[in-house]
Structure formats: C-alpha cells, structure tokens
C-alpha cells in the first residue's frame, strides 16, 4: 500500500523555482487501479517517478508497505525497484540491440537468478503477452504494439507488487491502444497488482475505478463507481 503525505517536489529552472508537486496526500491500496490525468507539465510523470522510487521528494514522505522510499539509500531504493516495481514507458524503452527475450531478461538480472530460470521466466512472460514466437526478434523488427507488449512482459516478469505505466498507449494507434489496455487489465486482474497509470487518453480515464487529476502540482481524486 502506498501512502503519500505532503509530497512536494521543487525544480529550479534558472532563477525560477517550480513546484511540480505541491503537498500531495494520497493513499493507494494493494490491488488498486489508479489512473492519473492532467495537463502537460502538471506533475503526472513526477508523481509516477516518486511512486516508482526513481526520484525523491523535496519534502514529504512516500511510503510503500511501511517503508519511506524518500529516506532509503540509493542501493536500497534500487533493490525496491528491482523486486517490487514494474515500469511501462510511453516510448517502450527497449534495448535496441537485445532481442525480445533478452529485453525481458534484463528485468531479472538484478535478482541474480540462474540463467536457466531467468530464460524460462522470460519465455513464460513473453508467452503471457502473446509473443512467444517473436522472442528472438529485435525491437526494430516488431510493431509498436508488440514492442509495448514486450515492455509489459519485462515489467511483469519479476512478479512485482506495483505496475507503473507512463502513458503506455501514447505512441500507439487506436487498435493497438485497445489491445495494450486489454493486456494490462488482464495482467492487473491475474496478478493482483497495484496498477497506476498516467494517461492523456480520456477514453481510458473514463473506465478507471479511481481517477486522480493533477493540475499545477495539486491532486484531486475521484472514485468512479460506475466502473
């Protein structure tokens, strides 16, 4: 479970100070699915980075299962990321020189598994997103949707507690978008993940059980009973 209390993030832009997040209070329960929306530069991605332990708040606390990520050392934070948090990015962020199988395996490298186990788990993850037959292909040989599915397999192969997706359908056309959203929802349900997603897409936002909107660093959360 996430608990964010008074999370503030300030950046310096020249002589100006910008509050990307301004005293955010937010609780996200285990297995929740939260969609974050808001205008560009509103602080969505910054919030996602705080949740993923990729950045630290200027003030406040970001607690995951009782551990304040803001106070962890770099190595412990790296460990939290490697074991508990899966990321899906808008631009897929696959390593261009590695095959789909090897890209998925990169998420298991920090867990120091045996090579055989690593390969088996990566192959199973690719199979679960319907890409078993494309495991030997390089990202450049895959379509955008396939690349994002590889990225999802990479995020889930380590069996994380949390899946963070930053506009996962932002670079895809409509049919691909639906396909990826279907995969993500299936995974969320099957694995019982806490799923937090940033999106600009109103169609996706409308279906979310909880919708958070960030404007100028401030957050408002709305429960969507209909979903």
């Amino acid at each position: 479970m996430y608990e964010l209390r008074g999370v503030t993030k300030r950046y310096k832009r020249g002589k100006e100070t910008v509050d990307a997040l301004d005293g955010i209070d937010l609780t996200i329960g285990d297995g929740d699915r939260l969609v974050i929306q808001g205008p560009t530069g509103g602080g969505k991605s910054t919030l996602l980075q705080m949740l993923g332990g990729l950045d630290r708040p200027t003030s406040g606390s970001v607690t995951l299962d009782g551990t304040d990520l803001a106070k962890l050392s770099e190595s412990k934070l790296t460990r939290v990321r490697s074991e508990n948090i899966g990321f899906v990015f808008q631009s897929f962020n696959l390593i261009p020189t590695l095959t789909a199988q090897e890209n998925v395996e990169t998420a298991l490298v920090p867990l120091k598994l045996k090579v055989r186990e690593r390969r088996e788990r990566a192959a199973a993850a690719l199979e679960s997103v319907g890409l078993a037959e494309r495991s030997g292909h390089l990202p450049a040989e895959l379509s955008g949707g396939q690349q994002q599915r590889v990225a999802i397999a990479r995020a889930l192969v380590k069996r994380p507690k949390v899946l963070l997706a930053d506009e996962p359908t932002g670079n895809l056309d409509e049919s691909m978008r639906d396909e990826i959203m279907e995969v993500l929802e299936t995974m969320w349900k099957e694995h019982g993940l806490t799923f937090i997603m940033v999106t600009h897409d109103s169609a996706i936002a409308r279906k979310a059980p909880r919708l958070a909107t960030i404007r100028k660093g401030r957050i408002t959360v709305k429960e969507n009973v209909s979903s």
Binding site: S45, Q49, G52, L54, D55, E74, S75, T78, R79, R81, S82, E83, F87, F89, Q90, S91, N93, I95, P96, T97, L98, E102, E105, T106, A107, V109, P110, L111, R154, K158, D166
Partner: protein, 482 residues
C-alpha cells in the same frame, strides 16, 4: 547477459568502435615499432661494441701511450747491398707494442682482486712490420775514352757512371694479439668466432700456435696446419676466426707468453679485459679501479657507446627521442579520442541506461557494462596495433637498412687519442667505422606492454563513459528523453 549485451552493442556501434580501435591501434603499433627499432639500435650498438670489446667484457684497463720521440721507437731496417747478379732475398721484421704503454702483468691480478671484479685477463697488442726483398749494387760503366769497365777501380779515378742495381722491397704490416689462453671466455678473441679448427687450449700457454683472422687468412692463403713466421719464429695455424661483426681485433692471435717474447715485453700487457660481478655495478667498479690503480684508463662499454656517431647514432637518437614522444603523443590523443567517443556514446544512450536503472540495475553494473565495452574496444585496438606493429617491425627487419657507426673519430670522447678505449690494435687512436644492419626484434615485454596499453586505453575510455553513466539518475535520464 553482460557479454551478449556487450557484443551486440559493439556491433551496433561498429563504426565508432572502429575509430576508437584504430586510434589505439596506431598508438600501440607505433610503440611496438619504436620499441623494437630501439631494441634493434641497442643490438646494433652492442654488436659494434662487441666487435671492439669482445663478448663478456664490461670494461678495459689501459695505460695511455707516450708521445713518440722522433727517433725513439720508430722501426729501422738495415740491408746490405748484394752483388748485381745476386738473387738473394733479404728480410727483416720488427715487432712493436701497439698503441698503449704496457702494464705489468701483476696489474692484471691487482685488477682482478678489486671489489666487484669477477675476472680479468691481460692481452698484448703488437704490430709487426716485415720488409723483404732484394737490394743489389749498381754496375760502374767507364766512359769510352777511359778504357774497360771495372768494378771498384784501382789507381787513378776512372771516369764513368754507375748503372743498374737498386732495391725492390715488399712491406707487410699486420697485427698480432697475445691472448691469455687459460681464460678463453674473456679477451680479444671473444669478438670473433672460431669457424675452422679450434681455439687455444690452456696447455698452450707458450706453444707456437696461432689462430688467424678469416680475412687475413684468405688474403695470405693460410689454411689449418700451415706455418706463419713472425720474427723468425714459425707458428702453426690451429684455427680460423671470423669476427661476429665489424673488423677483427687482430690479424693473428698467439699465446700471450709468445707475444711477450716476440716483443721483448716480458710480463707486460697492453690491455686488461675486465668482467664485473654485477652488470649494474659497472660504474662503481670503474671508480674502484681508477682509485686503487692510478695512472690507468678505465673504459666501459657505456663510455664507448657515447663515442658512437654516424647514422647509427642519429637513428638511435631519433628512435629514443622523436619516436618515443611521437608514440606518447599518439597514445595520449588516442586515449582522449577513445574517452570522448565513449562518453559521447553514453550521452546517446541516456534513455537506455536510465531504463536499466529503473529496472533495478545498480550504477556499478551499468558502469561495468560501459567499461567492459570500452576495454573490449581497447583490446581490439590492441590486437590490431600488435598486428600492425609486428608487421612494421618485420618490414624494418626485412629491409635491414644499413647503419654506419663511427667510433671515437671526433676526438672528444674517451675513445679517441692516447689512453682511449683499448679494444684491439689499430683502434685506439684512429676513428673506426663499422656498418651494421638494423633489425627490429620484438620482445615479449613489448607485446605485454602493448596489451597493457590496450587495456589502459580501454579503461581510460571506460572511465570517461562509466563516470557519466554512474552519475546518471534514472528520473533525469527518463525525463530528458520523454
């Protein structure tokens, strides 16, 4: 994963990798060629010195020659005129100590007893001048109005002219070296190799045997078993010696006692050949000898090397100065280019490394990946450089440019003038020019150095890139590209 990722990454950036590797290769090849050529120079210089010193000699001890008076030691030959019809050949030879003042043989033991001296032997350098030919009287021809021709003439002085008669002499000038036959490993004969027959045995300390220099033997048509006469004494040729390089120390080598007898120099030597116990302590041994045995000149191979001039010296200076600095400059440039290209490659891979860090890769692992790629790049450059360097060294050896070494001809060094280097006859006062072929032997140490440079180049390049990668914060990395 490490190697797969590394291999694929290098393949993807093969153009940049090739530029880095080529730069390193050029630097490393230069280092190999310069090192091997320098080594070849040293070898050539060693050959030159060996031709004077002989193998195993670290220094020589001599005593400066005295200025010759106008009459003093100059050889004189007297011949009586024979009758005009006489075919009798007259011959006279003079054996002279050559070049230096002699030292007592007791000095040899004294030198041998000095601290740091492993062994010392004496040698006596002689010059033999043999004049042989005919000297006939002329015949007196009386004027026609004076009657018959007659020899000498009696009574009143006859009128007439002397016709015919005269001299026809051949001068044979050669060098003889008296050698200590009990210590064949040291002394003048070590600069040559006995290629026919044998060398002296220790039982031949006063035997009438001779080892002839190959060129001299060829000139005089000497063969094993032939007899050579020196000042009326016949010596049997037991061996033919060929110099390892350059000229031989002498035309003939005979046992030291025989040389002393021939030149009336009993218990005298001209040169003491010294071998030091430790080659690193030669200067200290030189000082000890000079201090304890005053009036002598001690010349080491280093002193001798300083007197080497000519193209060998110029090339050696070029190799050690220009070559060395050029290699260093190219290497530094190659290291910098490698570092900057690696650093630039990291900049282009910010998203990649940010993603890996987001996935839980530690900074150390990311840095290792970058350094690993740079080191492999360096090793590829090293392999190319070694191949290029070996080819260069092989080419130098194949071409074998001839270098000329001039020893002591400038008059300023310890070689020149009286009291200079005491290698062998004819080489103490006058300059000596030798031609040596340059080779470029590549030592194992040079290859090890090349591999070390390749790894160092890779590590330096990796350090540039690794430092950047390690400082990369995942949020910044992802923010910069999203």
């Amino acid at each position: 994963m490490f190697f797969t990722y590394l291999r694929r990454e290098l393949r993807r950036r093969r153009k940049a990798a090739l530029v880095v590797a080529s730069g390193l290769a050029l630097g490393i090849a230069l280092v190999i060629v310069v090192s091997s050529v320098s080594s070849g120079m040293e070898k050539a210089q060693g050959k030159v010195l060996q031709s004077l010193y002989g193998l195993g000699t670290d220094m020589t001890v001599t005593k400066a020659a005295q200025a010759q008076s106008s009459t003093g030691e100059r050889p004189r030959f007297r011949f009586d005129a024979r009758g005009s019809d006489s075919d009798e050949e007259q011959s006279s030879d003079r054996v002279m100590v050559q070049g230096f003042q002699t030292l007592a043989t007791s000095t040899v033991s004294k030198v041998a007893g000095q601290q740091g001296v492993a062994d010392a032997v004496g040698g006596l350098s002689l010059q033999v001048i043999k004049v042989s030919g005919q000297f006939r009287r002329g015949e007196f021809q009386q004027d026609q109005n004076g009657g018959t021709s007659q020899r000498g003439g009696q009574g009143g002085p006859p009128q007439g002219t002397v016709e015919g008669g005269g001299a026809d002499f051949d001068v044979n000038n050669y060098s003889v070296y008296g050698t200590d036959v009990t210590k064949p490993e040291l002394g003048p004969l070590t600069s040559s190799k006995v290629t026919k027959g044998r060398t002296f045995t220790s039982s031949e300390a006063n035997a009438r045997v001779v080892v002839a220099d190959a060129s001299y033997a060829k000139e005089k048509k000497l063969a094993l078993g032939d007899k050579v006469t020196v000042k009326g004494v016949k010596y049997k040729v037991i061996g033919i010696a060929t110099p390892e390089s350059g000229d031989a120390a002498a035309n003939l080598y005979i046992p030291l006692k025989q040389a002393q007898t021939l030149s009336d120099s009993k218990n005298k030597v001209t040169t003491i050949y010294v071998k030091a116990s430790d080659s690193q302590q030669i200067d200290a041994v030189k000082s000890t000898i000079r201090k304890n045995i005053p009036g002598t000149t001690v010349t080491t191979s280093a002193d001798l090397a300083d007197t080497v001039s000519g193209s060998l010296s110029t090339a050696s200076d070029l190799a050690s100065n220009v070559g060395k600095w050029l290699s260093i400059a190219v290497l530094v440039a190659a290291f910098l280019v490698a570092g900057l290209l690696t650093s630039s490659a990291v900049s282009r891979r910010v998203r990649e490394f940010g993603t890996l860090k987001a996935l839980g890769w530690k900074s150390g692992r990311v840095t290792r990946q970058v350094v690993g790629e740079a080191v492999v790049n360096g090793l590829v450059g090293g392999a190319l450089g070694i191949a290029l360097g070996l080819a260069g060294a092989y080419a130098v050896t194949a071409v074998s440019p001839t270098l000329q070494a001039e020893l002591g001809s400038t008059g300023g060094g310890p070689m020149s003038g009286p009291g200079g280097m005491g290698g062998g006859p004819g080489r103490e006062a006058a300059g000596k020019a030798l031609e040596v072929a340059l080779t470029a032997p590549v030592a194992v140490g040079t290859i090890v150095l090349a591999v070390g440079l390749a790894v160092a180049g890779g590590l330096i390049a990796g350090a540039f890139g690794g430092w950047r990668a390690s400082r990369l914060r995942p949020a910044d990395a992802l923010r910069r590209v999203e």
